[in-house]
């Protein structure tokens, strides 16, 4: 263990001394976000405007810089400076910034760029500058179709995040969730998908049947979820590119709580029959089904470790809801939560080092994290009701949903998506058109 820590330590020193002068430490709550100036991207003369639904975007350079700024702001790590204090024009800043000017407004990093829009092509280049050291840190160019401009803005955000923090970003990602409308006793639920920043919401089902707990494949554009189609609660697989959906396996009872294996080849889920829920896997290609747990208790909410060797899950075999870890073949089952209260919805971090969970104690709900052996429990947020954390692909942010109290008429009720940093800081509401629940974060779309 000591050895590992040392290696990481050396790597860190090596990295920071060899490359960057400004570094953002994301391992602690960042109460002092890095001041960064995002200059509007210079729109080259002769550029076309971009038509998008009812909007006509004349200067996509400005729009891209806004999307980047919003990403930075939400990350809690960066503080984008107000543009009205910028002195240099975008065009000149991109060629050669006058660092003294940017220092004057306390910018430590500067993002500049230029963009050219032709009929069917969008060409963007950007540069990241270290203002204090008066150096270029990063320069990249992208070409894509004009309607893809938001994605490019997210990709640029990821590159900058990675350069400044040393960790992969999470901006070019999507979130699938359940959109909720209608009275509490008869909630209408639809699968919905949006960009990580809440843009581009699309509804994937019509709301004719109850749908719950959608989860992204870590490898591709497949989603697995629970649908009450024909009043038979079963796990389904949906290809969000083609819209094709199919029921997973042929089980004579309710299947639920699905998730993908880290290689995307299997679905792990619960199958309930005769009052008993056990955990099963199904290989998506071969359709081979394996029973993983065999216990008279409720076994549900399974989630693989990123190396696929272990599974954490929820069971009440001790009498009440607790979290257990076992080998992926179902052997060596160990209870890992012994704290006061109930524990549910374990989900393994994509980095492998932590398990996020929901804890219920004294009528309060908590989102927390712990090491896979149950040690080092840390509660990040407390509320009347919240559950179902899902990790950002870099394992730094958790998204979950929160419900409010209501009276007997259902007044006061809402279900909203929230995110919080692993540090317990930077809790944020994610705005959606309708109420939302059961969010699941995708992997990085471009890797």
């Amino acid at each position: 263990m000591k050895k590992i820590i040392l290696i990481i330590f050396y790597l860190f020193i090596f990295k920071s001394s060899a490359i960057a002068l400004i570094e953002v430490d994301i391992t602690r709550g960042n109460l002092d976000p890095l001041p960064v100036a995002v200059s509007p991207l210079y729109l080259e003369p002769g550029s076309k405007s971009i038509k998008q639904k009812d909007k006509n975007i004349k200067n996509v350079g400005e729009e891209i810089s806004k999307v980047i700024e919003e990403n930075f702001k939400r990350s809690g790590l960066f503080n984008p400076l107000k543009k009205d204090s910028f002195v240099q024009s975008p065009e000149i800043a991109h060629v050669k910034p006058r660092f003294e000017d940017w220092k004057l407004i306390k910018a430590q990093a500067l993002v500049t760029g230029k963009v050219k829009v032709s009929e069917d092509k969008l060409r963007i280049e950007f540069r990241l500058w270290d203002v204090v050291a008066a150096k270029e840190m990063l320069a990249l160019a992208f070409s894509t179709t004009p309607d893809n401009w938001r994605r490019v803005a997210h990709m640029i955000s990821d590159k900058i995040y990675q350069r400044l923090t040393g960790e992969e970003g999470y901006f070019d990602t999507r979130i699938i969730y359940v959109s909720e409308t209608g009275p509490k006793t008869q909630r209408l639920k639809k699968l919905a998908i949006m960009d990580q920043d809440g843009a581009n919401i699309k509804y994937l089902t019509l709301g004719n049947e109850l749908v719950l707990t959608p989860r992204f494949s870590p490898k591709n554009q497949l989603v697995t979820y629970l649908s009450y189609f024909r009043n038979l609660p079963r796990v389904y697989l949906l290809d969000i590119e083609t819209g094709i959906q199919e029921v997973v396996g042929d089980f004579p009872g309710m299947t639920f709580a699905p998730r993908f294996s880290p290689d995307g080849k299997k679905i792990i889920m619960s199958f309930a029959k005769d009052g008993n829920s056990d955990i099963y896997t199904m290989n998506i290609d071969s359709r081979v089904v394996e029973k993983i747990t065999d216990h008279s208790s409720i076994d549900t909410s399974p989630s693989y470790s990123p190396d696929g060797k272990y599974i954490c899950f929820n069971s009440d075999r001790s009498g009440l809801q607790q979290i257990y870890v076992m080998r992926s073949d179902g052997t060596n089952v160990k209870r890992v939560t012994f704290g006061k209260g109930l524990y549910g919805t374990p989900v393994w971090s994509p980095r492998g080092d932590l398990i996020a969970f929901t804890k219920v104690r004294n009528g309060k709900f908590y989102i927390g994290v712990m090491r896979p052996d149950g040690s080092g429990e840390r509660l990040l947020t407390e509320n009347f009701y919240q559950e179902a954390p899902s990790w950002s692909p870099n394992g730094r942010v958790l998204i979950f949903y929160r419900e409010t109290k209501s009276n007997e008429k259902g007044e006061g009720f809402s279900a909203k998506l929230w995110s919080i940093d692993l540090t317990g800081y930077n809790e944020r509401l994610i705005e959606t058109e309708t109420d939302g629940s059961d969010p699941s974060w995708s992997s990085l779309l471009s890797k």
Partner: protein, 159 residues
Amino acid sequence: MVLARNLRKTFLIILASLALSACASTSKQSGKMAGDVYTGTETVEFLATGVKDRVFFATNKTTLTTASRDTLRKQAAWMRKNSKITVSVEGHADERGTREYNLALGERRANAVKDYLMTYGISGNRISVISYGKERPVNSGSSPLAWSQNRRSVTVKAN
């Protein structure tokens, strides 16, 4: 002396009634509940005269209470009399639990009812079960009474 004794008696009676009314008001506050199992009839519907359609559970429990077993024996008798009827037993949980666990809990509650009906001679073929977890509350409130009404298994005519 007699007066004093009488006075003391009255005083005691007042004390006792105060204590009683305190009890009454707390039980009124939480509605009709024994422990945290709902014992009232506000949300209950009837499959036939005298045959209640639902039974209630304690938090995180699937045990059938004496009253629940009584209700289910009546359901069984009604099903024996009407041999063509098939039913669906819907298991539900309150909103104070994680969604997936509640789905499993609802399934277990529905099966507790199915098993009991079967021990009273109803064929398993006539009873299907479905769990709604916490998705279909009858009472929208966020109160112990509302939650107790929502922790239920409901027997519904399926044909």
